[in-house]
Amino acid sequence: MATTKGQRLQFDLDDDDLKLFCEEADEQIELLDASLVQLEGDPDPDLVQQIFRAAHTLKGSSATIGHKKMANLTHAMETVLDAVRQGRKSANAEMVDALLAGLDALRELAREVVTRVDSGIATAALEADLLATLEADDPDTQSLPSAPAGAGYQFSDASVQAALAEMGQGSSCYFVEVSISPDCQLPSIRCFQVLQELDALGTTLQTWPDRDVVEAGAGEFALTAALLSRQSDEQLQAAVEVVMDVGAVHVRSVPAEALGQPMTAHRVPAAAAAPGKAQLAVVESAAPGTDGGKAPKKAAAQSVRIDVERLDGLMNLVGELVIDRTRLQQIRDQLSAVLKDANLTELTENFEETTSHLARVTDELQEQIMRSRMLPVRSVLTRLPRLVRDVATKCGKKVELLTAGEETELDRSVIEEISDPLVHILRNAVDHGIETPEERRAAGKPETGTVTVTAWNQETYIYLSVKDDGKGIDTRTLRAKVVEKGLMSRDAAEAATEEQAIQWIFMAGLSTAKTISDVSGRGVGMDIVRTNIERLNGSIMLQSTPGKGSEVIIQLPLTLATTKALMVVANSTVYAIPLVSVTEALADHEADIHSVNGLKTLRLRQRLLPMIDLANALGDSRPRSIEAGRFVVAARHGERQVAFTVDRLLGEQDVVVKSLGDLVGNRKGLTGATILGDGSLGLIVDTASLVSEQAMLATA
């Protein structure tokens, strides 16, 4: 086939639709990513159903926008999954590999919709591979599923008689379910068109709603029909999909013995069938394991999709409200002093009551909006099973991944940032932590290693733990390594305790892998992971027991929008120093200050910290105020610590982080600004970069 790579592509959707298509496609692809791996062996039927539906939804949405390649590929995947779902075929490793390969291609194809450039992916081979996994069964002569029991569509006696008579003559009986896209202006006409298409292909035995209703133009957003036809189910499907505004089509052949039993609807919910159309699609609460395909009993939807930008906008508005509230309280205090003198106590009390109520409501509102930005951590965890499978296969290891606490919620902004570090830690756990099956057997452990990822909330933090039952960290290798790399003297390396040595894993320029495998290593190590986590005002801890395994625990704030900070004044500017990095704050007359080589040094718990003027370190060149440097704030980044001198301490505060704006840019040492109670602005110190820079300067 001639390559089409790089060609411009056209799709049938506008910008709004594009966003919805992408959201939906990402969601379904992620679901497949997370669950396909579990298909092997004896999977839970609910899970199979869920996977099938994801493929089916993708097929529907890609067909709606005219993405042929994607529709064809998802169709092939769906065919394979359908066979598994109906129990005609059980999934083996080959099938899962083919499905995963298809999934990778789908991801690229979905991206084409955004880039509008042909990625050059050939789907034909993938489709062939997929269908080959079924080859024992010809899809057209497949054994037919027995109709599920339960309330549903009941064939009339007349239909059953007609069907039985014809079925011997080469016709098959089909149960056809069609949904019309929810924003279709004239659903009744589309229903009628669908009916006409069906009439052209065979004999329509029965329809729901009734033929009369449809012909009278009273059809709705769905049409279900029993049809006798000599065509294949694919031909029927294709014929119906031609009709405009048709969302999902589901064709099932009905075996003779099932004719008398009621048919259960398999229709995908209309909203999901036309992702590109619904403006505010109602999303099912889709608890894992529930079969959303059956008529949803829990009234669909306790949730609504909201544009993140809109939420950010709301968040900003509430931020302003919070500031106004603070100002109002200040005005109230001033007013009440004046009004009390004027003997207007009643008025004062009323005013005070109103402002405190406003304050309570504002706090509540802020909290609620913050909550609405929270997502379950599940969306990150779903990617992990695939990753573990891939890495384990490459390293020739057997690894089982367990996850817990998927419902733990955290702010969207944190979710976006946490994914990469988590993936890195998990790769390390599989690549370096878990032993090969032989080694494990020799050590008396089960051949299959276990990696557990757990998420939980505690106070205003979220914790993520990655724990493996592998060999743990070999501190002997580590000690040799730090000496070899010149990071430490031999004496210092030997003198360190086990606990201290384990922490060296976070040192820059240290990789314990014997070779640079393509899995981890490459010089990008745990030091980068730690830097990234600390940039988010989080921290990372590591515990390890030789022979038993290791555990990495990440602690993160619930949201990046606000951060707890120590407020200080340096040269008449207010600065916020994130509390996570502050180890101590004290007045200089209490501090143990020494002069070493002409440099002021703070002795704090057996450590000597270089003392640095905060305003100078940030490049404040204005004349100094007289009260300069009366307090000391010890801050840390990793093992590095410095003591900043500041003029005044103002106390702790929750600060809302705001960008400094493009004109000012990313100024070194600052992460943003925050609005203070009096409406003026304070600057937020980037302790991570400032501490490492200053500690380096001091030792140089």
Partner: protein, 169 residues
């Protein structure tokens, strides 16, 4: 440069096209900004200076919950800096680098200038660096420099940042 300005004037200054502008004063000179770019005009308010930033960046201010960088336009345009007075205003503009406040000595008026009263700067002043002037309007009583916002404000702080930190070191 001169040719570029020539063509700009020809295109934008087609006969009878008016310039709708906000006129403000820096020391004793008058300048004008396209009214489309001006978001609002506020009185002088508290500005937090940012250590290590360019000398003409006065700092940031809180505009109803938004953090807006503020530029001292006198310093930026090389006009002698002066004290802030009761007439000093911050002209908040929307530029390619986002919302920016410009400190000016006074805002005098909003007016329409007929296209035929606008001339290219080189006809009157010969300062090649004056990339932020896109034309000069000859009004009855005075000259008004039409300011090109993208010329006044750099597209991003990156380039200037290097310079600022080098100077600090």
């Amino acid at each position: 440069m001169a040719t570029r300005l020539d063509s700009t004037i020809e295109v934008t200054g087609q006969p009878a096209i008016e310039e709708h502008v906000v006129i403000f004063r820096l020391a004793d000179e008058y300048y004008a900004l396209d009214i489309q770019t001006v978001q609002e005009i506020v009185r002088m308010q508290a500005i937090t200076s940012i250590p290590g930033s360019d000398f003409w960046v006065e700092g940031i201010t809180n505009l109803r919950g938004r953090v807006v960088p503020v530029v001292d336009l006198r310093k930026r345009c090389g006009v002698d800096s002066g004290e802030y007075t009761a007439e000093t205003r911050i002209v908040v503009v929307s530029s390619s680098t986002g919302m920016v406040g410009l400190i000016v000595d006074a805002v005098s008026e909003v007016m329409r200038i007929p296209g035929d009263q606008v001339e290219q700067p080189s006809a009157i002043v010969s300062v090649p660096e004056n990339t932020y002037l896109r034309g000069i309007a000859k009004l009855e009583d005075r000259l008004v420099s039409l300011m090109d916002l993208d010329g006044v404000l750099p597209a991003s702080a990156e380039g200037e940042f290097e310079y600022a930190s080098a100077a600090a070191a």
